[in-house]
Amino acid sequence: MRVELVRRGERSAAMAYLSPLLALLLTLIGGALIVIVWRLSTVDLSNPASGGFFGALQQGFVDYGRFLYVFFIEPLTELWSLEELVAKATPIILVAIGLSLCYLSNTWNIGAEGQIAVGAITGSFLPIFFPDWHGPFMLPAMLVLGMLGGMAYAAIPALLKIRFGTNEILTSLMLVYVAQLFLDYLARGPWRNPEGHNFPDSRAFDGGQVLPTLFDTNIRISLIFVFIAAFAAWFLMRWTKMGFQIKVLGQAPRAGAFAGFSQNRMVLLTFLISGALAGLAGICEVAGPVGQLRTSVSPGYGFTAIIVAFLGRLNPIGAIFAGFLLALSYLGGEGAQIALGMSDQTTRVFQGMLLFFVLACDSFIFYRLQIVRTPTLQTGTVTS
């Protein structure tokens, strides 16, 4: 007997919704293993006070319970941490929406982290060089410049791919390092605040240079951008010819060419859209929670967004839910660091594991498992 993967005739609608949940469940199980092994590794098993192996194991389970609490529940119990959750989810979702369009068209922009940095740089140009400008057009101008910066930077791998056939995965990723180094240079060098006591930061933005908050909270209006972008992207994909082109070219490039659609145009377009959204995320960080240009503006949002895009089924609305879950993992990681003394890298382990399981579970949308009886005769030679 063995288990085989068998292609389904049609995609399974049920599995399309179940697979992210199944993946989450598997990630929780994987997380338990990691926490328990981590606990076992920190305990000196030869010390009788630790209760030996089983004592440590028991402690591991207790730790996992606490871990689950601080990771998933605690951030939702207080207003400040909810605000924090929104602040983290905002840039992740913005980027993930753009990446979803890219991946649907089978174009691989994995350099959003760099496009975030460039968006932050170009958007900061105005408040750094014209610190006294606070008019009603200042903020919109900053946002537009941020988007243009992200677009321009994303256009580089797209144009190289179109013109020379260069692999966009590698070029977009290499450009992340270049952008981050350039940002580092600016923040330490020419754009450093002269009155900043040698800290590698720009001047703090103020007044009309920062995103206003909503209601009486710390939540900024960039949250509204998220919903606008998600709705626009959903409409584009569901109802327009452009979205149809993206899907056709992503699934069957030859059929796309037969339909008269241009692969090159779509590579550029999806890179530009995702670059613009990443640039917007970048400037919204600088003009929002961070409040100034620093040597680093994103703790890996551009990479987390890749996971969010897949977890959200490459659907802009799905990206919102997935984005909040992954934002939770940032806060949870910090919580686990404080409460259990685990490394802040826990977040990335959790994220990487989740993406793995999502991808594996996605197979069940197109395939199902079948148990097969192996034939009784197994030899190639004569049997009697």
Partner: protein
């Protein structure tokens, strides 16, 4: 510039090239079987941290190297299960492997940050190491010799041995290979494991030889550069080795330029290896016939046999 200094620079270039060579030769074998594993960076990071941890806790560097190989293979096995058995998208799964590997290595390595490690002593080959100029090629660390040996062995295996022929056949057309009765999945899984082992070695080289210590994200994009080197070398081991030396050269020369203070901001110099990668990729992909000639035809395609 004195001869001694020049020799020193050449030695550091070779040291900088070695991890790139390990990782890119491993990836070359993986890609020749038709699998694109973008998780090299993650496997390297795991190799680096496990190699360091094992060497540090046992005091035996050789054991550390073995541990790193096993760690790289374990990561590769994870990738193999997801992409070959569950036929997940290889690009996305490779990214997942990188993110997971960087995270897990950080988690494991937390305890080793700032712990000094013991470097690996160089081995001189008697008689040859005293030769002028070329002598320095015979005064290297054992892992560098291993990297060169693996490169030659891979080249021999791919183009002289039956196993290599099967591997290339699977990468050219999995449908034909299956029809002839070769187990596509098994061949690919082994190629993926070999790639993982080599990435693990590359990581071990970083944390045990290149800079004998563990720091967060110490792979610094070398896994990605290794991927680019495979394209640069058009899937041929010899050209990949030349590419590794070239990149080793660029990264060392920019370090020397920084040390000398050439009046260019250090960040710009640090960006040089990455920019070089982009430029080299552009130059090589302009010549589409050259790239196409050796590109495994089934690269990145999933295979589900009819049963």
């Amino acid at each position: 510039m004195t001869g001694l200094m020049l020799e020193g620079i050449l030695l550091t270039i070779i040291t900088a090239a070695t991890p790139l060579l390990f990782a890119s030769i491993g990836e070359l074998v993986t890609e020749r079987s038709g699998v694109l594993n973008l998780g090299v960076e993650g496997m390297m990071a795991m190799g680096a941290v496990i190699g360091f941890a094992v060497a540090h806790s046992t005091g035996n560097i050789a054991l550390g190297v073995v541990g790193a190989i096993l760690a790289g293979m374990a990561m590769a096995a994870l990738f193999g299960v997801v992409t070959l058995i569950f036929v997940a998208n290889q690009v996305a799964s490779g990214l997942a492997l990188t993110l997971f590997g960087l995270g897990l290595s950080g988690l494991i390595g937390d305890a080793f940050v700032g712990v000094p490690g013991a470097g690996l002593a160089r081995v001189s080959i008697p008689g040859l190491s005293d030769l002028p100029v070329v002598g320095l090629l015979f005064r290297l660390d054992p892992l560098t010799y291993l990297a060169v040996a693996i490169t030659i062995a891979v080249s021999w295996f791919l183009f002289r041995m039956r196993g290599g022929l099967v591997l290339r056949a699977v990468g050219d057309s999995h449908v034909s290979a299956h029809a002839l009765g070769y187990s596509v999945i098994r061949v690919r899984f082994m190629a993926v494991l070999f790639g993982g082992a080599c990435s693990g070695l590359a990581g071990a080289y970083l944390s045990l030889v290149y800079t004998p210590q563990w720091t967060q994200a110490m792979t610094a994009g070398r896994g990605w550069i290794a991927l680019a080197l495979v394209v640069f070398g058009t899937w041929l081991p010899g050209r990949v080795a030349i590419g590794a030396l070239l990149f080793g050269g660029v990264s060392i020369l920019q370090l020397h330029a920084q040390a000398l203070g050439v009046g260019v901001p250090s960040q710009f110099l640090s960006a040089l290896p990455y920019l070089t990668t982009v430029i080299v990729l552009v130059i090589i992909s302009r010549n589409r016939a050259l790239v196409r000639a050796n590109t495994p035809a089934a690269l990145g395609q999933s295979f589900v046999p009819d049963r």
